[in-house]
Symmetry: C2
Subunit: 138 residues, 2 copies
Protein backbone atom coordinates (compact mmCIF):
# COMPACT_ATOMS: atom_id res chain seq x y z
CA UNK A 1 0.00 0.00 0.00
CA UNK A 2 1.02 3.59 -0.49
CA UNK A 3 1.94 5.91 2.32
CA UNK A 4 -1.49 6.82 3.62
CA UNK A 5 -0.24 9.46 5.97
CA UNK A 6 0.24 11.65 2.92
CA UNK A 7 -3.37 11.32 1.88
CA UNK A 8 -5.19 14.58 2.50
CA UNK A 9 -7.60 14.12 5.35
CA UNK A 10 -11.05 13.45 4.03
CA UNK A 11 -13.69 14.33 6.59
CA UNK A 12 -17.19 13.05 5.99
CA UNK A 13 -20.15 14.06 8.11
CA UNK A 14 -23.58 12.44 7.97
CA UNK A 15 -26.04 15.01 9.32
CA UNK A 16 -29.64 13.99 10.04
CA UNK A 17 -32.07 16.75 10.99
CA UNK A 18 -35.62 16.52 12.25
CA UNK A 19 -38.36 18.94 13.16
CA UNK A 20 -38.08 20.99 9.97
CA UNK A 21 -41.22 22.48 8.43
CA UNK A 22 -42.58 20.72 5.35
CA UNK A 23 -42.70 24.07 3.58
CA UNK A 24 -38.99 24.56 4.07
CA UNK A 25 -38.22 21.00 2.98
CA UNK A 26 -40.10 21.59 -0.28
CA UNK A 27 -38.54 25.00 -0.96
CA UNK A 28 -36.07 24.36 -3.77
CA UNK A 29 -34.67 27.88 -3.95
CA UNK A 30 -34.33 28.13 -0.18
CA UNK A 31 -32.50 24.80 -0.05
CA UNK A 32 -30.14 25.85 -2.86
CA UNK A 33 -29.34 28.99 -0.91
CA UNK A 34 -28.78 26.99 2.30
CA UNK A 35 -26.46 24.54 0.55
CA UNK A 36 -24.43 27.14 -1.29
CA UNK A 37 -24.23 29.11 1.94
CA UNK A 38 -22.92 26.00 3.67
CA UNK A 39 -20.17 25.71 1.07
CA UNK A 40 -19.18 29.32 1.67
CA UNK A 41 -19.31 28.81 5.45
CA UNK A 42 -16.92 25.87 5.11
CA UNK A 43 -14.52 27.91 3.02
CA UNK A 44 -15.03 25.59 0.06
CA UNK A 45 -15.04 26.27 -3.69
CA UNK A 46 -18.23 25.39 -5.58
CA UNK A 47 -17.62 23.59 -8.88
CA UNK A 48 -21.20 22.68 -9.80
CA UNK A 49 -24.60 22.06 -8.28
CA UNK A 50 -27.76 20.20 -9.20
CA UNK A 51 -31.14 20.35 -7.45
CA UNK A 52 -34.36 18.51 -8.17
CA UNK A 53 -37.89 18.69 -6.84
CA UNK A 54 -39.77 15.44 -7.27
CA UNK A 55 -43.40 15.45 -8.49
CA UNK A 56 -45.37 15.32 -5.23
CA UNK A 57 -42.70 16.36 -2.71
CA UNK A 58 -39.06 15.63 -1.80
CA UNK A 59 -35.99 17.56 -2.83
CA UNK A 60 -32.57 16.23 -3.77
CA UNK A 61 -29.57 18.44 -4.19
CA UNK A 62 -25.82 18.12 -4.54
CA UNK A 63 -23.17 20.81 -4.49
CA UNK A 64 -19.91 19.56 -6.00
CA UNK A 65 -16.93 21.24 -4.37
CA UNK A 66 -13.31 21.45 -5.41
CA UNK A 67 -12.91 19.74 -2.01
CA UNK A 68 -15.63 17.01 -2.48
CA UNK A 69 -19.40 17.57 -1.98
CA UNK A 70 -22.47 18.47 0.06
CA UNK A 71 -25.75 16.63 -0.54
CA UNK A 72 -29.31 16.78 0.75
CA UNK A 73 -32.42 14.64 0.44
CA UNK A 74 -35.61 15.82 2.11
CA UNK A 75 -38.68 14.00 3.42
CA UNK A 76 -41.16 16.77 4.15
CA UNK A 77 -43.79 14.31 5.34
CA UNK A 78 -41.46 13.44 8.24
CA UNK A 79 -39.97 16.88 8.83
CA UNK A 80 -36.68 15.16 8.07
CA UNK A 81 -33.66 15.82 5.87
CA UNK A 82 -30.48 13.80 5.32
CA UNK A 83 -27.37 15.85 4.57
CA UNK A 84 -23.85 14.71 3.99
CA UNK A 85 -20.82 16.97 3.93
CA UNK A 86 -17.55 15.55 2.63
CA UNK A 87 -14.44 17.71 2.43
CA UNK A 88 -10.81 16.96 1.68
CA UNK A 89 -7.84 18.92 2.94
CA UNK A 90 -7.40 20.81 6.18
CA UNK A 91 -8.23 24.25 4.79
CA UNK A 92 -11.96 23.60 4.59
CA UNK A 93 -14.15 23.01 7.67
CA UNK A 94 -17.13 20.67 7.20
CA UNK A 95 -18.33 21.46 10.73
CA UNK A 96 -19.04 25.03 9.67
CA UNK A 97 -21.09 23.76 6.75
CA UNK A 98 -23.17 21.58 9.09
CA UNK A 99 -23.72 24.41 11.51
CA UNK A 100 -24.90 26.61 8.65
CA UNK A 101 -27.30 23.92 7.39
CA UNK A 102 -28.86 23.25 10.80
CA UNK A 103 -29.47 26.95 11.28
CA UNK A 104 -30.66 27.56 7.73
CA UNK A 105 -33.38 24.91 7.89
CA UNK A 106 -34.17 25.70 11.53
CA UNK A 107 -33.99 22.07 12.60
CA UNK A 108 -35.31 21.18 16.04
CA UNK A 109 -33.08 18.14 16.40
CA UNK A 110 -29.98 16.85 14.73
CA UNK A 111 -27.76 13.80 14.71
CA UNK A 112 -24.17 14.03 13.57
CA UNK A 113 -21.83 11.21 12.59
CA UNK A 114 -18.27 12.10 11.70
CA UNK A 115 -15.81 9.95 9.76
CA UNK A 116 -12.37 10.06 8.27
CA UNK A 117 -12.01 8.79 4.74
CA UNK A 118 -8.93 7.22 3.21
CA UNK A 119 -7.01 6.13 6.31
CA UNK A 120 -6.97 2.39 6.74
CA UNK A 121 -4.80 2.55 9.83
CA UNK A 122 -6.99 3.16 12.83
CA UNK A 123 -10.06 3.62 10.67
CA UNK A 124 -12.19 1.48 12.98
CA UNK A 125 -11.37 3.66 15.97
CA UNK A 126 -12.14 6.77 13.98
CA UNK A 127 -15.34 5.39 12.54
CA UNK A 128 -17.76 7.13 14.89
CA UNK A 129 -17.16 10.23 16.94
CA UNK A 130 -20.72 11.39 16.91
CA UNK A 131 -23.03 13.38 19.06
CA UNK A 132 -26.22 11.66 20.15
CA UNK A 133 -29.54 12.96 18.92
CA UNK A 134 -29.67 16.31 20.63
CA UNK A 135 -31.63 19.50 20.73
CA UNK A 136 -30.15 22.39 18.80
CA UNK A 137 -28.34 24.81 21.06
CA UNK A 138 -30.09 28.18 21.14
CA UNK B 1 -41.61 13.90 16.88
CA UNK B 2 -43.34 12.19 13.99
CA UNK B 3 -43.71 8.45 13.64
CA UNK B 4 -40.24 7.50 12.43
CA UNK B 5 -41.14 3.92 11.77
CA UNK B 6 -42.91 5.17 8.66
CA UNK B 7 -39.80 6.81 7.29
CA UNK B 8 -38.50 4.87 4.32
CA UNK B 9 -35.27 3.18 5.27
CA UNK B 10 -32.36 5.24 4.09
CA UNK B 11 -29.24 3.13 3.71
CA UNK B 12 -25.96 4.95 3.34
CA UNK B 13 -22.70 3.18 2.56
CA UNK B 14 -19.27 4.77 2.73
CA UNK B 15 -17.01 2.74 0.46
CA UNK B 16 -13.25 3.34 0.49
CA UNK B 17 -11.19 1.50 -2.13
CA UNK B 18 -7.43 1.21 -2.50
CA UNK B 19 -5.02 -0.33 -4.93
CA UNK B 20 -6.68 1.14 -8.01
CA UNK B 21 -4.53 2.17 -10.98
CA UNK B 22 -3.93 5.90 -11.42
CA UNK B 23 -4.99 5.60 -15.03
CA UNK B 24 -8.38 4.26 -14.02
CA UNK B 25 -8.81 6.93 -11.35
CA UNK B 26 -8.20 9.64 -13.96
CA UNK B 27 -10.48 8.09 -16.58
CA UNK B 28 -13.58 10.31 -16.56
CA UNK B 29 -15.55 8.32 -19.11
CA UNK B 30 -14.72 5.01 -17.45
CA UNK B 31 -15.79 6.36 -14.07
CA UNK B 32 -19.06 7.70 -15.48
CA UNK B 33 -19.75 4.27 -16.90
CA UNK B 34 -18.88 2.58 -13.58
CA UNK B 35 -21.15 4.93 -11.62
CA UNK B 36 -24.11 4.68 -13.99
CA UNK B 37 -23.60 0.91 -14.04
CA UNK B 38 -23.71 0.93 -10.24
CA UNK B 39 -27.06 2.74 -10.33
CA UNK B 40 -28.44 0.12 -12.71
CA UNK B 41 -27.00 -2.69 -10.56
CA UNK B 42 -28.80 -1.25 -7.53
CA UNK B 43 -32.08 -1.07 -9.42
CA UNK B 44 -32.13 2.72 -9.06
CA UNK B 45 -33.44 5.43 -11.37
CA UNK B 46 -30.92 8.05 -12.56
CA UNK B 47 -32.21 11.62 -12.39
CA UNK B 48 -29.03 13.51 -13.24
CA UNK B 49 -25.26 13.20 -13.11
CA UNK B 50 -22.29 15.53 -13.01
CA UNK B 51 -18.60 14.61 -13.42
CA UNK B 52 -15.48 16.77 -13.25
CA UNK B 53 -11.83 16.21 -13.92
CA UNK B 54 -9.62 18.65 -12.04
CA UNK B 55 -6.64 20.30 -13.78
CA UNK B 56 -3.74 18.03 -12.76
CA UNK B 57 -5.59 14.92 -11.61
CA UNK B 58 -8.56 13.91 -9.41
CA UNK B 59 -12.11 13.17 -10.50
CA UNK B 60 -15.34 14.04 -8.75
CA UNK B 61 -18.68 12.67 -9.79
CA UNK B 62 -22.21 12.46 -8.50
CA UNK B 63 -25.15 10.50 -9.86
CA UNK B 64 -28.43 11.83 -8.48
CA UNK B 65 -30.99 9.05 -8.15
CA UNK B 66 -34.73 9.13 -7.65
CA UNK B 67 -33.70 7.17 -4.53
CA UNK B 68 -30.84 9.52 -3.37
CA UNK B 69 -27.28 9.49 -4.80
CA UNK B 70 -23.93 7.87 -5.57
CA UNK B 71 -20.73 9.94 -5.38
CA UNK B 72 -17.03 9.44 -6.06
CA UNK B 73 -13.85 11.40 -5.42
CA UNK B 74 -10.56 9.95 -6.65
CA UNK B 75 -6.97 10.40 -5.52
CA UNK B 76 -4.91 8.74 -8.26
CA UNK B 77 -1.64 9.57 -6.50
CA UNK B 78 -2.73 7.23 -3.69
CA UNK B 79 -4.55 4.63 -5.78
CA UNK B 80 -7.54 5.59 -3.67
CA UNK B 81 -11.18 6.51 -4.26
CA UNK B 82 -13.94 7.48 -1.84
CA UNK B 83 -17.45 6.43 -2.88
CA UNK B 84 -20.71 6.89 -1.09
CA UNK B 85 -23.94 5.19 -2.00
CA UNK B 86 -27.15 6.44 -0.40
CA UNK B 87 -30.50 4.87 -1.26
CA UNK B 88 -33.97 5.24 0.16
CA UNK B 89 -36.67 2.65 0.07
CA UNK B 90 -36.42 -1.12 0.18
CA UNK B 91 -36.71 -1.68 -3.58
CA UNK B 92 -33.16 -0.50 -4.31
CA UNK B 93 -30.05 -2.33 -3.09
CA UNK B 94 -27.00 -0.16 -2.33
CA UNK B 95 -24.88 -3.29 -1.73
CA UNK B 96 -25.24 -4.20 -5.38
CA UNK B 97 -24.02 -0.73 -6.36
CA UNK B 98 -20.94 -1.12 -4.14
CA UNK B 99 -20.18 -4.54 -5.53
CA UNK B 100 -20.39 -3.14 -9.05
CA UNK B 101 -18.08 -0.24 -8.20
CA UNK B 102 -15.41 -2.40 -6.55
CA UNK B 103 -15.36 -4.68 -9.56
CA UNK B 104 -15.50 -1.88 -12.11
CA UNK B 105 -12.43 -0.08 -10.71
CA UNK B 106 -10.67 -3.38 -9.92
CA UNK B 107 -9.85 -2.34 -6.37
CA UNK B 108 -7.34 -4.46 -4.43
CA UNK B 109 -8.75 -3.49 -1.04
CA UNK B 110 -11.94 -1.99 0.20
CA UNK B 111 -13.46 -0.74 3.43
CA UNK B 112 -17.21 -0.57 3.84
CA UNK B 113 -19.19 1.33 6.46
CA UNK B 114 -22.97 0.93 6.46
CA UNK B 115 -25.46 3.25 8.11
CA UNK B 116 -29.16 3.79 8.43
CA UNK B 117 -30.40 7.33 7.95
CA UNK B 118 -33.46 8.89 9.50
CA UNK B 119 -34.06 6.58 12.46
CA UNK B 120 -33.32 8.26 15.77
CA UNK B 121 -34.39 5.22 17.78
CA UNK B 122 -31.49 2.81 17.96
CA UNK B 123 -29.41 4.90 15.59
CA UNK B 124 -26.29 4.52 17.72
CA UNK B 125 -26.49 0.74 17.61
CA UNK B 126 -26.98 0.84 13.86
CA UNK B 127 -24.20 3.32 13.29
CA UNK B 128 -21.50 0.90 12.19
CA UNK B 129 -21.96 -2.55 10.76
CA UNK B 130 -18.84 -2.52 8.68
CA UNK B 131 -16.36 -4.97 7.32
CA UNK B 132 -12.74 -4.37 8.20
CA UNK B 133 -10.28 -3.44 5.48
CA UNK B 134 -10.27 -6.61 3.45
CA UNK B 135 -9.03 -8.05 0.22
CA UNK B 136 -11.54 -8.28 -2.56
CA UNK B 137 -13.00 -11.75 -2.92
CA UNK B 138 -11.93 -13.32 -6.21
Amino acid sequence: MAEWQHLPHGRHILLDVWGVSAERLNDLEGMQQAMLGAAVAAGATVVDSTFHRFPVQWLSGVVVLAESHISVHTFPEHGYAAFDVFTCGSRVDPEMACRHLVQAVQAEDRYVRRFLRGHPEGIEEQAVTSARVEALAP
